[in-house]
């Protein structure tokens, strides 16, 4: 797969530690909602490092959008989230991953469950859903640490079927749900197994492991449960 040169056209802070990078990629072949790219950075002496980032923009958009959360001791994310300016170029290749994708070609219900930055590919799916005016009922359950960590907060506030739960927020300003994603939350904010929903789970290892196990225990067919995991390491 070829490395492509992408030019930054805009950077938008999402939270104190996350930024959405909008890119012009002249030879971009197009992607499916849920896919990711590999980004490669090269230092002046030729040293290189690569990491994978989920695509936030829906298929068919004229700019490729990545939302990068800065991991303070990470190798690549601090540069992407803090040092990139409009006009800078980075190398990337993709799209990668042909399994954790939602194409919107049928009306089966969809449950998206994201933890932390795992919400990024799910938001691509929601944006695709909107863009193609899909009739498939789609719900998002999104677990973030604090209110300040919620990505796409304004956009998600305008979508009906979104449940956000905070796991470490001590402030009194949040009047939404708190606590980890559990059986009860997935039963009320998701779909019953009898409806045969497509389930997409994305986030850190422990989050995905817990949520996927709950879904299977609830009776969801395991072939309907697709997972994508981000390790906390590296960044």
């Amino acid at each position: 797969m070829k490395w492509l040169v992408a030019t930054v056209t805009e950077t938008t802070p999402e939270t104190a530690s996350a930024v959405t990078i909008r890119l012009d990629v002249p030879d971009w072949p197009g992607h499916r909602a849920g896919q990711h790219v590999d980004v490669r950075l090269t230092a002046e002496d030729g040293y290189q490092a690569q990491r994978s980032y989920s695509i936030a923009s829906p298929p068919g958009s004229d700019r490729l959008e990545l939302t990068v959360v800065r991991i303070d001791d990470g190798e690549v994310s601090p540069y992407l989230a803090s040092d990139l300016d409009v006009g800078d170029q980075i190398e990337l290749r993709g799209p990668i991953g042909g399994y954790f994708v939602w194409d919107g070609d049928d009306d089966r219900p969809v449950l998206l469950t994201g933890g932390g930055s795992g919400v990024v590919p799910l938001v691509s799916m929601m944006r695709h859903h909107e863009a193609v005016d899909s009739k498939a009922p789609m719900r998002l359950v999104y677990s973030a640490r604090t209110a300040g960590d919620v990505l796409y907060r304004d956009e998600l506030a305008n979508v009906h079927d979104v449940t956000i739960t905070l796991t470490r927020d001590q402030s009194s300003e949040w009047d939404g749900r708190r606590g980890r994603v559990d059986n009860e939350l997935l039963a009320t904010a998701g779909w019953p197994p009898s409806e045969g929903p497509r389930c997409y789970v994305c986030g850190p290892d422990t989050f995905v492991e817990a949520v996927a196990n709950i879904l299977v225990d609830m009776g969801h067919d395991q072939t309907n449960v697709k997972t994508e995991r981000f390790g906390p390491t590296g960044g």
Partner: protein, 201 residues
């Protein structure tokens, strides 16, 4: 010629330089990667089967029979296509050579199949001659479910998706047949030292 990202320094002091393939970085933990939920097959229902190119069972072991086979202690470096590498991992497992001892075949390819429907394809030559194991122990303990227990394939010279978790058998084939990831964009062979991550690499 690569674009130079001014101001990018990277982590030069990384231990293990020269021991990890291009594009990889070292981790100390053991990340988990799967396309679907973890599988939990009771040992009483577990078996391992080798199907020959006619589709006939050429070997089959229950968990007890499998445990009675001679096993190796294996210390290897592993490399995941998602870019982490882990050095000096300790495994215990049965060599595929041992499992193939009584099997007559002219097949050149093999597909490993797993609980949950996962498959991955390899040249038969890549799982013979001390290059592959069916591993059931990790770091002195039984292999945990989320890392592929009760048993997973271990083919450390290829990217780790070839080391199928929850493996239940090998299907011998005359013609190559792409597995789960190989059918959706990942490289058919997956040599980390040649950075064969995706189609066309």
């Amino acid at each position: 010629m690569a674009i130079v990202n001014r101001g990018f320094k990277g982590r030069r002091s990384q231990a293990g330089a020269g021991l990890i393939p291009p594009g990889q970085y070292l981790v100390d933990d053991f990340p988990v990667l799967t396309a679907g939920p973890t599988q939990f097959t009771p040992l009483a229902e577990w078996d391992f089967t080798i199907l020959d190119e006619s589709g006939a069972a050429a070997g089959r072991w229950t968990w007890e029979e499998f445990q009675a086979l001679p096993a190796d202690d294996i210390i290897v470096d592993i490399h995941c296509v998602t870019k982490w590498s882990k050095l000096g991992t300790h495994w215990r497992g049965v060599s595929v050579d041992t499992l193939m001892e009584g099997v007559e075949t002219s097949a050149e390819f093999v597909v490993a199949f797993s609980d949950g429907g996962y498959t991955t394809n390899l040249p038969l030559a890549d799982v013979l001659d001390g290059q592959a194991w069916v591993a059931f122990g990790y770091d002195g303990e039984a292999l945990e479910s989320e890392h592929g227990g009760p048993a997973r394939l271990l083919v450390p010279h290829l990217y780790f998706w070839k080391s199928a978790k929850w493996v239940r058998g090998l299907r011998l084939l005359n013609e190559d047949e792409p597995g789960f990831w190989e059918a959706v964009g990942y490289h058919n062979y997956g040599d980390p030292w040649r950075e064969q991550r995706y189609w066309g690499d």
